[in-house]
């Protein structure tokens, strides 16, 4: 048996987002267990631990589960991630933060046990600008871009990148923080209404997303000029605003919808067999897909690790090596029944974060679904790489880590 811990949150302020993600994450492993008899013959044992998006409970979950020798942690909370970075490093567990967490963990030479492939926040910020550039025919000099962000470590992540990119592309960036929980955003949106920025980028989570989109609809902000990060891009976020939300854009680093062969198996082996983690009604939603994607990446890493270690019963340390050697290719994804589901990338010790590919989706209110409207675009590595270097080295210095790959 191999153990996977799912630190989920099905209660509290972010439950609506935590549930589909966790469902997808668990269902994929259940599928492997049911259909393939596990990975490499090893049954996957899922241990779920409820964090309520609360760091202390996250720590408790970690301490409570680490005795089970789980292969990887996926906390789905930037706060818990920061908590666990030193702990997992000391205890030798790998941790994967899929599109969240500490961006500079991309530098695997410093963050040996932390992985944040295939994309991180800074990639997100960069791709959003990339998309705007596309829309504007490559020139956004003098354009106004507003960032509406959750006033927390998470929300502040893209600021540095956007500022750097502003220097490069010559747009004007204005910052509009929204305090937790973000139920009331009138002043931010009145300001947007007055200043009429050409684009609005959003870094929100939870109720902040819904309110922002509703307010944008209210002031009749052109929705196709409103771009959210992937954590602001779930169905939950647009549904309360109804038809008005049509045209809203959000980033993603994986595909959406349930139009993949793997879903047939999923229905057959998991949902209809009554083995689904949740109600089984979330298949194909953005966050469910993201959870499943995370599970799939973990499963592939396990396979890689098994190959390297030459044994099916791997340890967390071997899992770490497997993750560091993970290579996602189109063929692999197609074979899994998930063709083109995410970007192809290859993890190395120097690069724990993938290549920073992301795409843009757009909400179609009539169809009630997001649609991919672009292919995967790469973030501006030229700008990002030095930033990551700088931040990770600062961390290394503060914590007395000698960066290195062996």
């Amino acid at each position: 048996d191999l153990t996977i811990v799912d630190t989920s949150y099905r209660t509290g302020p972010y439950a609506a987002n935590g549930i589909p993600f966790s469902d997808g994450y668990q269902d994929y492993f259940t599928l492997l267990n049911e259909r393939d008899g596990g990975i490499g013959g090893e049954h996957i044992n899922i241990v779920e631990c409820e964090t309520g998006y609360n760091t202390e409970k996250g720590v408790e979950c970690y301490e409570g589960t680490k005795g089970d020798e789980p292969l990887v942690y996926e906390p789905l909370s930037t706060g818990i991630t920061y908590q666990l970075i030193p702990k997992v490093t000391a205890d030798g567990f790998p941790m994967h933060t899929l599109g969240y967490g500490r961006t500079s963990a991309k530098n695997g030479a410093v963050f040996r046990n932390i992985f944040n492939y295939p994309a991180n926040y800074w990639d997100g910020a960069s791709v959003a600008i990339e998309h705007i550039l596309d829309q504007e025919g490559g020139d956004i000099k003098g354009k106004k871009i507003a960032l509406v962000y959750h006033n927390s470590a998470y929300g502040k992540e893209p600021i540095r990148t956007l500022e750097e990119l502003a220097k490069k592309h010559g747009y004007e960036l204005s910052l509009l923080p929204v305090d937790h929980p973000g139920q009331e955003q009138k002043s931010q949106w009145l300001q947007i209404r007055r200043e009429k920025p050409d684009y609005v980028i959003m870094w929100g989570w939870g109720v902040m997303n819904q309110v922002a989109i509703q307010e944008a609809v209210n002031i009749r902000y052109p929705m196709d000029h409103f771009i959210g990060i992937w954590w602001s891009g779930s169905e939950n976020d647009v549904l309360p605003a109804g038809k008005g939300a049509n045209g809203y854009k959000a980033l993603t680093f994986h595909n959406i919808g349930s139009d993949y062969p793997v879903y047939d198996d999923m229905r057959k082996y998991v949902v209809e067999a009554g083995k689904a983690a949740g109600a089984g009604d979330q298949l194909g939603t953005t966050l469910y897909n993201r959870g499943m994607y995370a599970a799939m990446l973990a499963a592939e890493a396990i396979k890689t690790a098994q190959q390297i270690a030459g044994t099916s019963k791997i340890t967390p340390a071997q899992m770490r090596d497997g993750m560091e050697a993970l290579e996602m290719t189109e063929e692999k994804m197609a074979a899994l029944g998930l063709p083109h589901f995410g970007p192809a990338f290859k993890v190395t010790c120097e690069n724990h974060g993938g290549d920073g590919y992301a795409a843009v989706t757009q909400w179609d209110a009539d169809a009630g679904a997001y649609k991919m409207i672009t292919g995967y675009m790469q973030s501006d590595q030229e700008v990002l790489a030095p930033l990551i270097e700088e931040d990770s080295m600062a961390y290394a210095k503060e914590n007395g880590i000698t960066p290195g790959c062996n």
């Binding site: 549930i19 923080p177 929980p181 009331e184 009145l190 109720v207 509703q214 209210n218």
Partner: protein, 328 residues
């Protein structure tokens, strides 16, 4: 007129409207405080519970379905009906009255004559309980609430003001509705508490449980009544806020927006809730408008509290609160 000025005017107007929404939540607090001297921590959760129940009833969701399914392995989710908003609201009111009865029967009745802080604590317990029950009953997904309230920019005001100043004012239709409802509620509640026998009894209860009992006021009745009314107010607040942001856990956090309003207006004053709401609404919006950029924004959360605090230093019972009796 300068642009800056017009914009400030627009911000002010919108601040007033947000203030009304805060006041709607604050009203529930005031009612219960007035009738029992209890600071009802559960008011926010009640709004959440009411809104969830309303949506659940409208959509014909089976209560506790997740739990039932988990235990019995069944697959039930929906009754398969869709009720019109008004009917669902009526049914929700019945549920809220039931809740009020339970609160009275299982909590308040046993705590007659206790110190305010202990009653406060009991409402904390209630908040936990209710939150858990709401989740078990209706699940934690975000749901859209649409009882047919208009939403979005009010075209008339926009075009009229455009004609007048060359700058169209933004006013949300939902806010207008909220204002009307709040005004009606306040008038009704003021009349009730100030001029009726039950209202007088309610205030008597707040002062002294024992003495109220001794003159024959039935605390049971008063509390069921007041909690029902507070439940109704919570429902109204839940509908307004739920329409804005969808029905979800965070609705229970709107209580935090109501607290400074409460302080400013006075815990015991119904009109105070409205006036306090308006002041806080305008204050925080204008402050953010004028000093936000300088201070790095997101000042709203603390500004309301600091404003209320400064104000209280000069008038410790809030604007319209009952004078705090200090005698020996």
């Amino acid at each position: 007129m300068s642009d800056q000025f017009l914009f400030a005017a627009e911000v002010t107007l919108n601040g007033l409207m947000s203030g009304v929404l805060y006041a709607l939540v604050a009203l529930g607090f005031v009612l219960i405080y007035k009738a029992s001297g209890i600071f009802n921590y559960a008011q926010g959760v009640m709004a959440l519970f009411a809104a969830m129940t309303l949506v659940g009833i409208m959509d014909g969701q089976v209560p506790f379905s997740h739990l039932i399914n988990a235990i019995f392995g069944t697959e039930i989710h929906h009754f398969g009906w869709h009720l019109p908003g008004l009917l669902a609201i009526l049914l929700t009111m019945v549920v809220m009255a039931g809740l009020a009865w339970c609160v009275q029967q299982f909590v308040m009745r046993h705590l007659i004559g206790q110190a305010p802080i202990i009653l406060f604590m009991a409402t904390i317990g209630l908040a936990y309980l209710l939150e858990g029950v709401a989740d078990l009953m209706w699940g934690s997904e975000i749901r859209k609430l649409d009882v047919g309230l208009p939403q979005g920019i009010n075209e008339t005001i926009d075009s009229v003001t455009y004609g007048m100043f060359g700058y169209g004012f933004f006013i949300d239709n939902l806010d207008i509705v909220a204002t009307v409802i709040a005004a009606l509620l306040v008038i009704a509640l003021v009349i009730f508490s100030q001029y009726t026998k039950q209202g007088r009894a309610m205030r008597a209860v707040a002062d002294d449980h024992q003495a109220a009992l001794s003159v024959g006021i039935s605390l049971n009745f008063i509390w069921v009544m007041v909690w029902s009314v507070a439940g109704f107010v919570a429902l109204v607040a839940g509908i307004m806020w739920g329409t804005k942001s969808g029905v979800q856990f965070s609705l229970s956090l709107i209580a935090l927006k109501a607290l400074p309003v409460l302080m400013l207006g006075g815990f015991t004053s119904i009109p105070g809730a409205i006036v306090g709401g308006l002041i806080i609404g305008v204050g925080e919006k204008l402050f953010d408008f004028m000093f936000g950029p300088m201070l790095g924004g997101a000042t709203e959360n603390w500004f309301a509290y600091v404003l209320a605090l400064l104000f209280l230093v000069f008038r410790p019972q809030g604007l319209f609160g009952d004078r705090i009796i200090e005698r020996v």
